[in-house]
Symmetry: C2
Subunit: 229 residues, 2 copies
């Protein structure tokens, strides 16, 4: 088992069978000691954050598997905070895909001239490039195509997958009276067949969720969703 | 003649026949006393800047008219720094459409991880919303549609017009050995029939042009293009 990448919140190891092993760390992103899933810097360490994130990720990835949605997921060991995944390559140098159900966060900061805070958005999909130095710039379908990151055809697949997965997560949360406002995903191409699949994780740190109009912190969200599962 | 809007670089008057009169001012946008067409604040006043901008605008709008490209242009009086135009409404609260031939400016600042400075771009079109407070945020085709600013069908028209007009300006500049790197346009819907037309101006302040690898200041560009016309 060989360490091939040390990320902000996970380390990635290459396994001998060709798969990857992700180890979820207790480091969370944030600024000034406050947990902020949208931040680009590791802000603090919360004991148990890695396992909690993995528990939720396992929960959602297994639902997606049942529904036949392509992901990189193979299996997970929550006690060891590890997840085995198929090898995939990211688009360009990494890209995030956001699905929005209500106007908050960077969407509201950009388009506040046209929308009210919390206004309903119809599964709005947008893409940002992972680039800490340039504050993860948003990019259009045409831009992705021109820069050789994603073809127009692939964009269609990606957008449809994003909305389908977003809707599944939204439904699961709704069962616990939690409302999903937005969620971000990462996708990649499977090494074995180039298929576009969901990669990385689906945890509290990837979404904004509200209960009775109140924002739920990632770790609390994980507890609420996993209660009784 | 009634003043209906005072802009950063022009004033707009309503004429009795239903058209508008634009008066080009000598105020130019910039920061700290330096002329910067991309800036959102009026930085300084340059005597003759209004007329120079109008002269170039008249030149290009008349070429577009000959080629049958829809614009709001009726006629212009350079001595009085005025242009008569058909009444049009802007999209949303104002929107800019950029056509890029080489990677410079905000494109390079956003996508510098993927492109070299000055790299060729194939008539890349992008849209930003006019919103000084939010630094003119970029927006996607889906975003424009969702916010009710522009339908998908209208976006297609807008993109095609942008590339066609950009190419015409590029060709005209090439005749004077000047290379167009990027250009920004404004479009609107004609009040009389809702047709999508080019509005505002086409002057040095709307484009980045280079000669022998050197950036040409807006006022110098206007002189170079109008020489011998």
């Amino acid at each position: 088992m060989k360490l091939i990448y040390q990320g902000k919140t996970k380390d990635i190891y290459a396994l001998e069978d060709g798969n990857y092993l992700l180890r979820f760390k207790d480091d969370v992103t944030g600024e000034n000691g406050v947990f902020d899933p949208g931040a680009n810097t590791v802000g603090l360490t919360i004991e148990g954050a890695g396992k909690a994130g993995l528990r939720l990720t396992k929960f959602f990835f297994e639902i997606l598997k049942e529904k036949g949605i392509p992901t990189h997921y193979v299996d997970a060991n929550v006690e060891e905070a590890t997840m085995t995944v198929k090898t995939a390559t990211v688009f360009g140098k990494g890209m995030e895909v956001i699905c929005r159900y209500r106007a908050v966060g960077s969407f509201l900061r950009r388009y506040g001239m046209y929308v009210e805070e919390g206004q309903s958005l119809d599964r709005f999909v947008e893409v940002t490039l992972k680039d800490d130095e340039r504050q993860d710039p948003p990019i259009t379908e045409d831009g992705l195509d021109m820069l050789g990151i994603l073809s127009k055809e692939e964009y269609k697949t990606l957008k449809a997958l994003t909305q389908r997965i977003g809707d599944i997560v939204k439904e699961e949360l709704a069962k616990k009276s939690i409302e999903l406002y937005d969620i971000k995903f990462e996708f990649g191409r499977l090494k074995e067949n180039n298929e576009i699949v969901l990669i990385d994780e689906i945890s509290g740190g990837n979404m904004r969720a509200y209960k009775d109009g109140q924002y739920i912190e990632p770790l609390k969200l994980e507890k609420l969703v996993m209660e009784g599962e």
